[in-house]
């Protein structure tokens, strides 16, 4: 092997190295150190020592299983709402909107990203508050009372709102790949519209649905901003618990254990999806969204 081919062989490693190192130091190492922190025992006052005891996980589950289960339930409901609301929109853009208007419609879907996530969520607090415009209208119609803010409805609504574009875009991408001639073929073979949809379009959009669920469910279930701004004190999620344990109670082992419980639940699902889909494709979809 000449010096030149050696250099050509090593070139990709040299190019990958700086970014790889950044991710190893600030992503992999912290996760590993968090794993060891979760196996520490002690208190805020006496300090924490490495004991490799598993009991923090049991304590974390006992203390926060309500939040963990609630996060999964909110995540599933919000993801379900996003799919039901978003699939028809993706279908409409892919098959009905004329080519020259497609990018304009897609741009409209992306408009929320030009406003800060926190402001968007806070604006829903503003709209739904007890003297805000929704309840104001409700009262003007002659009804009394009513309360939206600080309910699970408000949190789930906020979650669905904030993550809906992440649901629509991957489905749209997969529907856009469905060749129109397939629809013609199924029509020629005497399938009606419903049958064409169920037997041709829907199966071909399954990868998109997979990617959508992944891109929506993970951030939704681990989000705590919506719960904080729209949910009050009674609808806290597991993210809230991690933040409270770490920052307010300064109990890093508990926060770390909770993080791993959350990741174990989420990542098992994510990797199962990724296996079915191929990591590369899933990531490209993540990037386009």
């Amino acid at each position: 092997m000449s010096a030149r081919t050696v250099r050509a062989r090593l070139a990709p490693y040299a190019m990958i190295f700086p970014g790889w190192l950044w991710l190893v130091i600030f992503f992999v190492v912290p996760l590993v150190s968090m794993l060891s922190v979760s196996l520490m025992t002690g208190s805020d006052v006496d300090g924490f020592t490495q004991t490799w005891h598993f009991h923090t996980y049991v304590e974390a589950w006992n203390k926060y299983h309500v939040q963990i289960v609630r996060s999964l339930i909110y995540g599933l409901i919000a993801t379900g709402i996003c799919l039901v609301l978003g699939y028809p929109v993706a279908y409409w853009i892919a098959f009905r909107v004329r080519q020259k208007y497609k990018s304009m419609i897609l741009f409209l879907l992306l408009l929320p990203f030009f406003v800060s996530f926190i402001i968007r969520t806070q604006t829903w607090n503003f709209i739904l508050s007890d003297n805000g415009m929704v309840l104001g209208l409700y009262h003007a119609l002659g009804f009394h009372g009513g309360h939206v803010l600080n309910t699970s409805t408000a949190v789930i609504g906020g979650l669905a709102y904030n993550f809906l574009p992440f649901t629509i875009l991957p489905i749209y991408v997969s529907l856009e790949r469905v060749h129109p001639s397939l629809l013609e073929a199924s029509a020629d073979l005497y399938a009606n519209k419903t049958k064409s949809f169920l037997r041709v379009v829907l199966p071909l959009s399954i990868p998109g649905i997979f990617a959508s669920v992944l891109l929506t469910f993970v951030p939704v279930a681990s989000d705590y901003v919506n719960a904080m701004i729209l949910g009050g004190t009674r609808n806290t999620m597991v993210g809230t618990a991690i933040e409270t344990e770490y920052v307010t109670n300064f109990n890093p082992p508990m926060a770390s254990a909770l993080s791993f419980i959350l990741m174990a639940v989420l990542l098992v699902g994510v990797f199962a999806y990724a296996r079915a889909l191929g990591t590369e494709e899933a990531m490209e979809m993540a990037a386009t969204a």
């Binding site: 990709p12 150190s33 409209l108 408009l111 929320p112 806070q122 809906l164 993080s259 990037a287």
Partner: protein
């Protein structure tokens, strides 16, 4: 698969009579339900933006935006930067966003170029690393990074926010650049090489212009994610404020409402962002 199923041109087996009978009826309800549904969803998505913009002009005397319409005013825009905390947080957000973009574009482009074409030993583990980074929940990334900074006794602040932002945005740059790189014909680089260009010249004059759209998209993504991040930043900011953190802090202090300037700054950022995006799209179209 698609090519084998496509009907050859000129052979359209559908008889005109059958389509003429069945089409109008079938389309009648399908024609408006789908667009109506979609437009309602779009309306829902833009509703809070409209509310924000309209109420940024709402007069009032309270410390927060009034939920009732008190009359039209430009007052809040005249005093947009009167709160030094807000201005400071905004400046931090913008400079961190720009630095994040530069660093993650450099690191991510190098990785994306290397990974886009050749398969090399270990590429699978790098892929897994990137995928895990994108898939991991933000709250976990934030908490984990904080534990690293605490154990290494690294003071929290501007620097740690920047480190965190590069950590979560670099993978997105890699993915967009790599996709572009994979779509580029290797023959172009071979041609440059045959014409006597060295590897650096080839990279700068041939590879880089070709993958520029991918770099731009990745860089924009990095900037937007950085300027908008709340969760990871809230773990690693120390006492440094960014715009999203300031807005959240202000809403907590004021029982849910935000100072009127907030909607003004939000609207301004929205308008600038939209103008840049639309301008960029028009400029791109002209070039082609």
């Amino acid at each position: 698969m698609t090519t084998t199923l496509a009907a050859p041109d000129g052979i359209t087996p559908e008889t005109p009579s059958s389509s003429a009978v069945s089409r109008p009826r079938r389309r009648l309800h399908g024609r408006w339900i789908l667009p109506l549904w979609s437009w309602l969803v779009i309306l829902w998505l833009v509703a809070p933006i409209l509310v924000m913009i309209v109420f940024s002009f709402n007069d009032g005397t309270g410390r927060t935006v009034s939920t009732n319409w008190q009359g039209f005013t430009f007052r809040w825009y005249e005093h947009l930067f009167s709160s030094s905390d807000l201005t400071h947080a905004l400046v931090n957000s913008i400079t961190i966003g720009l630095l994040t973009t530069v660093i993650s574009v450099v690191l991510g482009t190098l990785m994306g170029v290397a990974m886009g074409r050749r398969k090399f030993f270990g590429i699978g583990s790098v892929n897994l690393l990137l995928f895990a980074n994108i898939a991991a929940p933000e709250v976990v990334l934030g908490a984990a990074l904080l534990s690293l900074f605490l154990t290494m006794h690294i003071p929290l602040g501007y620097g740690t926010i920047l480190i965190a932002h590069v950590m979560f945005s670099v993978a997105y740059v890699v993915v967009t650049v790599r996709a572009r790189m994979a779509g580029q014909d290797p023959a172009l680089e071979e041609a440059a090489h045959d014409l006597g260009a060295g590897p650096v010249t080839t990279f700068l004059r041939v590879t880089l212009p070709g993958i520029m759209p991918g770099i731009t998209a990745g860089g924009l993504l990095a900037f937007v994610m950085s300027i908008d991040d709340y969760i990871i930043t809230s773990f690693n900011n120390g006492t440094t404020q960014t715009f999203p953190l300031w807005v959240y802090g202000a809403s907590v202090r004021n029982g849910g409402g935000v100072p009127p300037q907030t909607y003004g700054v939000g609207s301004l950022i929205f308008v600038i962002g939209v103008l840049l995006a639309v301008g960029g799209a028009i400029w791109n179209r002209r070039k082609v």
